[in-house]
């Protein structure tokens, strides 16, 4: 519903632009669905690995977009959930619990619990405070992981066995794993679309636009925002569990604060508060990173200024450009 409201306000020519946006989205989803076919035919395993990574980080970006794009909560600590989800899988695997039926729910629950505590503390503040506090708590988790000597400390921990699902799905099959990530991503996007179009989601979006007014008409916005924050954390924790299975490795680096920055970049690049924006943003960002690191020894020398230009000029990211750049 919010998406259709937006279109109404874009004005003349919006139909064509909406079509362009929809076509790009469909094309991206279709291409992503066909990647394993291409890589099987050409035997290019690296490409499948790269795109699996795109899908997993896109799940993280979709989750961040739920609170940041729709809820206006700029979290700079979202990589912490990737880490918590990943460490849940890694620690359980090391302790001999290999079943995904246990590992993944633990990953999701641990992330949700962390989100509940951090959210309860940080949602009492707003604006820059919120950005810095989420960053600081994520840094705390990062240091905790470094302190976990039993689980590799700074060096990280190799996971020798991917999560098992009693023969239902075999994660060791790269194609199966790719489609599993794809399914989780699409389910995540569907979940977000259901949330933002529900009464709950409208309250969240109302709180972003004018929190005082929402409170004045009787909504306890703090509770709504906290629940939203926890849902996003749980979803990103699941992405962390996937990431640990993808790399067969966990380390504090997966929740380094620049990873949180990367997730923010993906969301803004793709289009804040749009359903498929985070996916497009993750795709463009990771391919850009990959491409630049092949072209030059100093990729960030170009990536940095690109981000600066996006921040200064590109209102609404790629989705915004396709739709006519209304959002600011």
């Amino acid at each position: 519903m919010s998406a259709s409201l937006e279109q109404d306000t874009i004005g003349a020519g919006s139909d064509a632009r909406w079509m362009a946006s929809a076509l790009v989205t469909i094309a991206v989803v279709a291409v992503l669905g066909l990647v394993p076919l291409y890589t099987t035919l050409t035997g290019n395993a690296f490409l499948l690995t790269l795109f699996t990574r795109v899908l997993i980080l896109a799940i993280g970006a979709v989750s961040l977009n739920l609170i940041m794009g729709y809820g206006g909560m700029v979290s700079f600590g979202h990589a912490a959930y990737l880490g918590i989800g990943g460490y849940a899988v890694g620690i359980l695997a090391k302790e001999g619990v290999g079943s995904g039926y246990i590992q993944w729910p633990v990953a999701v629950a641990a992330s949700a619990l962390y989100a509940l505590v951090v959210g309860a503390l940080s949602l009492r503040t707003r604006g820059v405070y919120f950005i810095m506090i989420t960053l600081a708590f994520a840094q705390m988790i990062y240091y905790v992981a470094i302190g976990l000597d039993r689980y590799g400390g700074d060096d990280g921990l190799t996971i020798y066995q991917r999560s098992t699902f009693g023969g239902v799905v075999d994660l060791n099959n790269k194609t199966v794993f790719y489609y599993l990530c794809f399914a989780v991503l699409l389910a995540g996007i569907y979940l977000v679309s259901r949330i933002v179009n529900s009464r709950f989601g409208l309250v969240i979006q109302g709180a972003r636009a004018n929190e005082r007014r929402m409170r004045a008409i009787g909504f306890p916005t703090f509770r709504y925002k906290l629940v939203c924050f926890v849902i996003a954390g749980a979803l990103c924790g699941l992405a962390g569990a996937l990431l640990a299975n993808h790399t067969n490795f966990i380390s504090p680096a997966m929740m380094h604060w620049t990873r949180s920055g990367d997730l923010i970049v993906m969301v803004v690049l793709g289009g804040l508060g749009t359903l498929f924006g985070p996916l497009i943003g993750a795709l463009v960002f990771l391919l850009l990173e990959e491409g630049l690191s092949r072209l030059t020894e100093y990729p960030d020398l170009f990536l940095g200024p690109i981000l600066l230009l996006v921040a200064i000029y590109a209102h609404g990211g790629i989705e915004g450009l396709l739709r006519g750049g209304r959002r600011g």
Binding site: M68, T125, D149, V268, Y298, D300, G304, I306
Partner: protein, 305 residues
């Protein structure tokens, strides 16, 4: 006990460095309403400048002075080229833009100085330790850092509270449109304030350079600690930044030094060895969380916000 005094002094010294960083951050935020993630890059550049100028000139004092001027210039150029275009944007855009700058600076340093770190040698006079109280020797250079930072803090207080520039800075923090309307060149003021913040960050980097290795990314972890200082002290408040910086420095250093020991007394050796490092690195964030519960705006919230 002697060890405790030594660790406390180390804590104060870390606190002083944090203050130099946090003061610049909070000044820029209070006046221009800008979140600057690239602030740690200016700290890193200060250290690299000092190490380079020390090699070129052979003089430690000249290196420090040149590094300070270098940081000031980089800061002002950065403001004119990029930062001023971010003032009117949302905090999210500012985070994105300055994150890009941080990536750029890290890579630029790698291109110019190479991936290996550098060291900055101290003059012989500063390599000794002095006896501060009977039985406690403390490195001269660390005392110099504490005194120099205190002097800078006093100077900053004087500039902000007692000079015309400081009056404009305070006025800009409370109502920038009005300052502009009264005919003050607000653009120039902003450039100066940003340059001042950059010089403070650069100074912190210079002072820290002889103690740590000068390396890429050295400004990032300490930047997050400076954020914690600002959260505890209250955004926009220099006084709050000072108090919180000393506090954070002490908790961080003393906590790391003594918490593992204390755990050993309560828990089994094995559990203490596992929990010790993790818990002591958490201590400062626990303090931050506690402050947030009771004072969400920090200990010294700036009156204007």
């Amino acid at each position: 006990m002697l060890y405790f005094i030594e660790q406390s002094l180390n804590g104060v010294q870390l606190g002083m460095l944090l203050f130099l960083l946090a003061a610049g951050l909070t000044l820029v935020f209070g006046i221009m309403d800008l979140v600057n993630l690239a602030h740690g890059s200016l700290y890193m550049l200060g250290a690299y400048f000092a190490a380079t100028f020390a090699v070129l000139t052979g003089s430690f004092v000249a290196a420090v002075a040149l590094a300070l001027i270098g940081s000031l210039i980089v800061g002002m150029v950065l403001e004119v080229v990029a930062i001023r275009r971010l003032y009117e944007r949302s905090h999210l855009d500012q985070v994105l833009g300055t994150f890009g700058l941080l990536l750029f600076f890290n890579e630029a340093v790698r291109l110019i100085w190479g991936p290996a770190g550098m060291t900055l040698a101290l003059p012989a006079a500063m390599l000794t330790a002095v006896q501060i109280i009977p039985g406690v020797f403390y490195p001269v250079y660390r005392l110099v850092i504490i005194l120099a930072a205190l002097a800078v803090a006093a100077l900053l207080y004087f500039v902000v509270m007692r000079t015309r520039l400081g009056m404009l800075i305070r006025a800009g923090a409370s109502n920038r449109e009005m300052v502009g309307a009264l005919g003050i060149n607000i653009k120039l003021l902003y450039t100066l304030v940003f340059g001042l913040g950059a010089a403070l960050a650069g100074f912190a980097g210079v002072m820290q350079a002889p103690i740590l290795t000068v390396q890429i990314g050295m400004g990032e972890n300490i930047l997050i600690l400076a954020f914690v200082v600002i959260i505890i002290g209250g955004i926009g408040s220099i006084r709050g930044a000072f108090v919180a910086a000393v506090f954070v420095g002490l908790v961080e250093t003393v906590g790391r030094a003594f918490l593992p020991d204390m755990l050993h007394r309560i828990l089994s050796t094995n559990a203490a060895a596992t929990l010790g490092p993790a818990l002591s690195s958490m201590s400062i964030y626990m303090v931050m969380a506690a402050v947030l519960v009771f004072r969400p705006e920090g200990l010294f919230p700036a009156a204007s916000r």
